[in-house]
C-alpha cells in the first residue's frame, strides 16, 4: 500500500491516519488552485531567504562603503547601493528575517488572544459577551496605525514594541470573527450533546468550539498578514519601528524617500519586496479560504 | 389528445472529483391533465427530475433527453430567454419550504401581484381584485389583511398557501409540487394538499407531485412513479400501489410503520435484492 492510498483510505485505522488524510485532501485541493500555489511559493521563498540569509546575501547588511554611495543597480550590486554605500540586495535579504519575525510574532500573539476572547464571549453570551465585546469595540473603533503609533510612542520606538503594538491592534478583528463563528453553532446539537455528557465549559470551548473557529481564523490571519507587513513598514517608515541600522523594509523606504527622484532604486527595491510578500499572503489566504471554508468561497 | 408533458430518456449529471455522476439515469414518462406522483428516498433523483423539466439545473449540472415536450413545444431547444415566459405562466413549481421561497422584504400581496405582472399587463384595480380572489381561493379568510403582511408574519401553513396562490395565479397548465407539505404539521398537510387537489381538478391542470411519502402520493395522485437511484423502478396506478411488484417498492411500503402497528420488527430494505451488487 502506497502512502497515497494510506492517506486516502476511506476507512482509516487510527485517529492519526484520519487526520493525516484530512490534511492531505486539503493539500490536494489547495494544489488545484494555481494562485494559492503561487502564494505558497512566495511565502516559502520568504522563509528560505530568511533562514539562509547569510549564504544568499553577498555582503553584510550593515557594512558601509562610503566610496560607492547611491550606485544604480549593476552586476556587482543587483539592487544598487544606498546613501551609506550598503548593498541594497543584501539588506532586502536580511530584511526578510525581520518581516518574517514580525509576521510570526504578531500571529502568535494576536490570533490566540482574539480567538479565546471571541470564543468565550460567543459561547457564554449575556453579560460576558457584552463586556468582552464592548472592550473589543473600543480597540476596533480606533484606526490601526494611529493606535499602534500611540503604543509605540508610549513604549518607546523599536522593533519589539512595534510588534506588541501591532498585535494589540490586530486581535479585536479576530475576536469579532471568532465570536460570530461561535454564535452560529453555540446552540447546535453537537455542542448540546457534549454539555449533556457533563463536560466543563472550558473543555467545550477549548476542544469543541475553538477547533471549529480555526479554519476561518487561519484564513483571516493569512489575509491580514499583508496588512500587518504594511503596518510594520508604516511604523518603520515613520521611524517608530525598527531602528537603524536594522534592514527593515519600511525603514529602508523611509530613508530612500529623500533620494526618490534621482536614485529611485533605494526606495523602490524594498517596496517591491513588501508588495511581493503581501501578494503572496493574499493569494495563499484566498486559496486557503476556498479549501477550509467552502461556504465563504467566491464571496468578497 | 396530445399529452401535456412528454419526457423520454431524461438524464441529469453532475461533475465530481471522481468524474461525472448521473443522478437521473434515463427517466421517461408522459403526463396528461392528471395527477402524477414521483416517490423516492433522498438521492433518488426525484427532485432533480422536477427541476430538469423547468430547466432549473444550472451548470455544471447537465441535462440531456431524447425528447422533452411540453404541450407541443420542445423544452430542450429553448434558450434560457425563451424558457422565461413558460416558467411561471404555463408551468410553475411549489417548493418545500415557504420560508426560503418568499421574498422577506415584499408583502404577500405584492409578491402574488408580481407573479402576474411578470407575464401579462393587467390594470392595477383588476390586479388587486385577482390577488384577492386568489387568496380567497386558497382559503385565506381575510385576504386584504394578509395581502399586506410580510412573509415572517404568516404561519408555515399560510405561507405555503401564499406560495400556492403565487404559483397558480398566472393560471399555469402544469404544476410541479416538490415536497409541498413536508415542512408542515400533519394537520395542515391535508388542508394544503386538498387545496392543491381541488384547484388542479377544477382548472383541468396537470400535477407532478414529488414526495418521499408513499401514502401521501397514493392518496392525492392518479398514477405513481417510484424512483430509486435515478431510475424509475415501478410505475402503477395509485389504487394499485399495495399490489406493487418491484422489491424496492414493496420493501418501502413494508418499512413504513402503520398507525395500528402490531409488528415487533419492521422489515428492512434488502438493497442487494434488486440492484445486483
Amino acid at each position: 500500500m502506497s502512502a497515497r492510498d494510506w492517506l486516502l483510505d476511506e476507512s482509516p485505522n487510527s485517529r492519526m491516519q484520519a487526520n493525516a488524510g484530512r490534511f492531505y485532501r486539503m493539500g490536494l485541493a489547495l494544489l488545484r488552485n494555481p494562485l494559492a500555489v503561487l502564494g505558497a511559493l512566495i511565502i516559502l521563498l520568504l522563509i528560505a531567504t530568511a533562514v539562509f540569509a547569510p549564504w544568499i546575501a553577498p555582503e553584510s547588511p550593515v557594512g558601509q562603503m562610503l566610496d560607492r554611495r547611491l550606485l544604480p543597480p549593476s552586476s556587482a550590486n543587483w539592487m544598487g547601493t544606498d546613501e551609506l554605500g550598503r548593498d541594497i540586495f543584501s539588506r532586502v535579504v536580511y530584511g526578510a528575517r525581520i518581516t518574517l519575525m514580525i509576521v510570526a510574532l504578531v500571529a502568535i500573539i494576536a490570533a490566540p488572544l482574539g480567538l479565546i476572547i471571541g470564543a468565550v464571549a460567543g459561547y457564554f453570551g449575556g453579560w460576558v459577551d457584552k463586556l468582552l465585546m464592548g472592550f473589543t469595540d473600543i480597540f476596533l473603533s480606533m484606526p490601526k496605525l494611529i493606535l499602534a503609533l500611540a503604543f509605540v510612542a508610549a513604549l518607546g520606538p523599536g522593533i519589539e514594541n512595534a510588534i506588541i503594538a501591532i498585535a494589540i491592534t490586530a486581535w479585536p478583528a479576530y475576536a469579532r470573527i471568532a465570536r460570530a463563528e461561535t454564535i452560529t453553532f453555540r446552540s447546535s446539537e453537537f455542542i448540546s450533546a457534549v454539555k449533556l455528557v457533563g463536560a466543563s465549559d472550558a473543555r467545550i470551548i477549548g476542544l469543541h468550539v475553538v477547533p471549529l473557529c480555526m479554519s476561518s481564523m487561519i484564513v483571516r490571519v493569512t489575509l491580514d498578514m499583508a496588512g500587518i507587513i504594511l503596518t510594520a513598514a508604516g511604523l518603520g517608515f515613520l521611524g517608530l519601528g525598527a531602528q537603524p541600522p536594522l534592514p527593515e523594509w519600511g525603514a529602508m523606504i523611509s530613508r530612500g524617500r529623500v533620494f526618490i527622484l534621482d536614485q529611485w532604486w533605494v526606495a523602490t527595491m524594498p517596496g517591491f519586496a513588501i508588495i511581493l510578500v503581501s501578494l503572496g499572503f493574499c493569494f495563499l489566504g484566498d486559496g486557503l479560504r476556498d479549501v477550509l471554508d467552502p461556504k465563504q468561497a467566491g464571496k468578497s | 389528445m396530445t399529452p401535456l408533458l412528454e419526457i423520454e430518456n431524461l438524464r441529469v449529471s453532475f461533475p465530481t472529483t471522481q468524474g461525472r455522476i448521473e443522478v437521473v439515469k434515463g427517466v421517461s414518462f408522459t403526463l396528461g391533465r392528471e395527477r402524477l406522483g414521483i416517490v423516492g428516498e433522498s438521492g433518488s433523483g426525484k427532485s432533480m427530475t422536477g427541476r430538469a423539466i423547468l430547466r432549473l439545473i444550472r451548470s455544471p449540472g447537465e441535462v440531456t433527453a431524447e425528447r422533452m415536450m411540453f404541450d407541443g413545444t420542445d423544452l430542450l431547444s429553448r434558450s434560457e430567454r425563451a424558457m422565461r415566459p413558460l416558467r411561471g405562466a404555463r408551468m410553475s413549481m411549489i417548493m418545500q419550504d415557504p420560508k426560503f421561497s418568499l421574498n422577506p422584504v415584499m408583502t404577500v400581496g405584492a409578491q402574488i401581484a408580481e407573479a402576474v405582472r411578470a407575464h401579462e399587463s393587467v390594470p392595477r384595480r383588476a390586479l388587486a381584485n385577482r390577488v384577492r380572489e386568489m387568496l380567497e381561493a386558497v382559503r385565506i379568510n381575510d385576504p386584504d389583511r394578509v395581502a399586506r403582511m410580510y412573509p415572517h408574519e404568516v404561519s408555515g401553513g399560510m405561507g405555503q398557501r401564499v406560495m400556492i396562490a403565487m404559483m397558480l395565479i398566472p393560471r399555469p397548465d402544469l404544476l410541479i409540487a416538490d415536497e409541498p407539505t413536508s415542512a408542515l404539521d400533519v394537520s395542515v398537510q391535508a388542508q394544503v394538499l386538498d387545496l392543491i387537489d381541488e384547484l388542479i381538478v377544477n382548472n383541468g391542470m396537470g400535477l407532478l407531485l414529488i414526495s418521499h411519502d408513499l401514502n401521501l402520493v397514493a392518496r392525492y395522485c392518479d398514477r405513481i412513479l417510484v424512483m430509486n437511484s435515478g431510475e424509475v423502478v415501478e410505475s402503477c396506478d395509485a389504487a394499485d400501489l399495495h399490489a406493487a411488484t418491484h422489491p424496492y417498492t414493496r420493501g418501502l411500503l413494508a418499512a413504513i410503520p402503520r398507525i395500528d402497528e402490531t409488528r415487533d420488527v419492521l422489515p428492512v430494505l434488502d438493497r442487494s435484492a434488486w440492484s445486483g451488487t
Binding site: 476511506e10 476507512s11 482509516p12 485505522n13 487510527s14 485517529r15 491516519q17 484520519a18 487526520n19 484530512r22 447546535s188 446539537e189 453537537f190 448540546s192 450533546a193 457534549v194 454539555k195 449533556l196 455528557v197 457533563g198 463536560a199 473543555r203 469543541h208 477547533p211 471549529l212 | 428516498e41 433522498s42 408555515g156 404539521d185 400533519v186 394537520s187 398537510q189 391535508a190 418521499h212 408513499l214 401514502n215 420493501g251 418501502l252 418499512a255 413504513i256 410503520p257 402503520r258 398507525i259 395500528d260 402497528e261 402490531t262 409488528r263 415487533d264 420488527v265 419492521l266 422489515p267 428492512v268 430494505l269
Partner: protein, 252 residues
Amino acid sequence: MTAISLKSLTISYGGIPAVHDVSLEIGDGESFALVGESGSGKSTVLRAIAGLAPEWTGEISVLGAPRGHGPDRAFARTCQMVFQDPYGSLHPRKTVDSVLSEPLIVHGLSERSGRVSEALDMVGLGQEFRFRFPHQLSGGQRQRVAIARALMLKPRIMLLDEPTSALDVSVQAEILNLLKRLRRDQGLTYLMVTHNLPVVAFMCDRMAVMNAGRVVETAPSSALRTGDFSDPYAQHLYAASGGDEIASKDGQ
C-alpha cells in the same frame, strides 16, 4: 419506581412561558411518547429534563432524585439524549472514535478503546467506521453514532428528540428497530418526542398528546389501534395522521 416524574412543570424561553403546568409520571423501563405538532412545547419538555432549557418552575425528578436547572455530571450517567438532526448532532471535525471517546474522557473511564468498539458493535456499525469523519457517513449511520454516543455512559434513561424524522423511511425502519432492540437488551427507559403517530404505535407503550404548551390527553398507545381519544385535538391529530382510514375501515 418512576424513571421521570414531572410535577406542574412550567418552562419559559426568555421570560415567555412555552409549556404550562405539565405533570407526568414515566415508569422505569417504559417507553413513553410526547406527541404534538410544532410549537406544542414537546421538545421544550425534553430539553428541560436534559438541562438545556434552564428557565423552569415546578419539579423534575429523575429516578427519584430531584433535578437541578443546569447540565450536571452525575445526571449525565443516568440520562442521555439523542437529537433530531443527524447532520447537526455530530461535530464536523471529529472522528467517530473521538466523538465516542469524549464521554469516557470527561468521566475519567478507562479501557476507552474497547468500549468504543463495543459501542460500535451495539449500534450495528462496523469497525471500519471508527475513524471516519461525519461527512463520510450517511444520515442513518450518523444517527447510529449519535445513539452510540448516548449509550457510552450506560444511562438508564434515553431522551429521544424526533430521532428519525430527518431520515428516509427505509432508514427510519432500521433506526427504530435498533432503538427497540437496545431498549429490550439493556432495559432502558425511553422518553421520545415525535409528531409521527405511527412511530409511536411501533415504539411506545404510552403517550401524552401536547397542544399549545399543555398536555391535553394521556393514553396507552393501544388507543392508536382503536382511535379511543377523548380530547378533540387528539382526535383531530389522530385523524390527520391516517387514523381516519382505520375508522372508515371499521365502519364498513
